[in-house]
Amino acid sequence: MRPDLLNHAPILIILLFLGGAMVAVLAGLLQRRLAQPWAVGITGSATLLSLFGLARVLQEGALRYQLGGWRAPIGIELIYDPLSAFLVVVICAVSLLVLIHGRRIVPEEIPGREVPFFAVALMLIGGLCGIVLTGDLFNLYVFIEIVSLSSYALLGIGTKRSPLSAFRYLVMGTTAGSFYLLGLALIFMRTGTLNMTDLAEILPFVSGQVPVLVGLAFILVGLSLKAAIFPLHGWLPDAYTDGCSTATALIAPLGTKTALYAILRFVFFVLAPAYGAGAAPIGTIVAYAGAAAIVWGSFMAMSQKELKRMLAYSSVAQVGYIALGIGLGSRYGLIGAVLHILNHACMKACLFLVTGNLRRNVGHSYLPNLDASVRREMPWSMAAFCVAAISMIGLPPTAGFFSKWYLALGTVEAGQWPLLVALLVSTLLNGVYFFRIFEQVYLKPAREGASGREARGEAPLSMLVPTLIFAVLLLILGIGNVYIVTTFLEPIWAGVL
């Protein structure tokens, strides 16, 4: 790839998706079946481009891309350093696999609406990449809203209840966005800049002023609601449960995670120089909110009978882990949080894809009705489910163990024992609700003349292969976690302090 083309990689990736979304609508007008292949094609190209971009960044160092040639801090800046480049690759790769999976199931779950679905999905992915790449706070707002609006639309298609859950999500999400905007107004009034790096430099001079503090609080509250940090998570269970399989599989692994990444960037890069040790009380609050999320989410998940709803509550708990890591504010906290963002994207994507497979083949994902016939018919899907479940519980050698390990190390270092207890107890709780499913699927004998539907066998390849790829990735990410830490995380930690 021509090197100077790669210098524009950040904006090209985003433009690919946004442009692709518009063309998808046009292509769909011609021929409805073109929408999905087009979406896959765009995402595939973006994945390739992001991989090359990542290679370039690792070789030549971070890239600060000025949009339109206008120099920062007046112009809008995109920050392309190892971590953001890596996360862009992750976003594109995960989306690619989910979209491939969607080929069969989207027309089945939402017939007649594939074209708008895939077009909006492309916009969503573009917005996700934008959140990760941007270095400007207002640009962040714009991309967050792009992601949110696409999410409302995607999650609103599906069952009878979806529009209602999506509407609730919309109201809460827009309130959050408004808070963010309000906070940003206060910050802008006091510091005169919207650029993250610039703000980090200016903030130490104004850090004690009330408008600044209030502004920062509003920004963090707004972002926290988007990220579904307890107790601002109320929109999540319904929205994720009622959306169609592919929509949830796209949004659950990535949507809240990018918001958390935004918080992470904000806390570690913008706030850290100004507040450093003084931010400790806020960090403690965030960390304990995370611990509360972990415990509450796990308990709620245990009492769910429907698989998608259970996974949604489990997502609340997983967000808690990341919040815990951010709240700790230490090196291990950062590593644990970022690793968990990565791991959780793969785990949740795998689990929701399996749910999609289940729904297609068995017709439902209602847990008490599952029995050993599922295992007989869908051995590979259930095997992938096992790997993802073990990773969620946090047992070696899967990826989930290692991110929890770093987080636990961080809590021990900080001497925060209640957080450690919350982390470890959650392992047990997660074990309970996943092993219940194992028992159902692997041990409960199939009822005679069960359910009256014909056995549809294993999911088709286009659905099965992405599921299995995620499962394998979890093992690879687990064993290779040191490589990830040294290559992608170390360079930015150096920049933090």
Binding site: F138, G156, L164
Partner: protein, 121 residues
Amino acid sequence: MIDFFAEHYSHVCIVVLIGVGFFGMVGKRNLVKKLIGMSVLQSAIILFWLVAAFKEDATIPIVKDGVSPIVPEEYVNPLPHALMLTAIVVAVVTSGVAIALLVKIYRNYGTLEEDQILEQL
């Protein structure tokens, strides 16, 4: 007290608008009214930015030929206004998506009153 209101009447109005918005979102049972509340909230925030950008006795940020030195206090900062144009667009799109969802809800449930919908669930 009167002086306070006189000097900060715009901010007070904005706070009132935010209050109205929240009341609509939380206190009202009808989904359309919730939407209106949300809209009012968004407008209040946008107004807040604009109020912040206001400058007494300042003119549009175009430098006339031959004027020198350029004194920043005489020109309005265009940035907040530009940003708010974006924010207005976002608000419009949000309303569009919200209304589309409401139409779908109405088709599915036959009503837009929250308690009636909850009964049907």
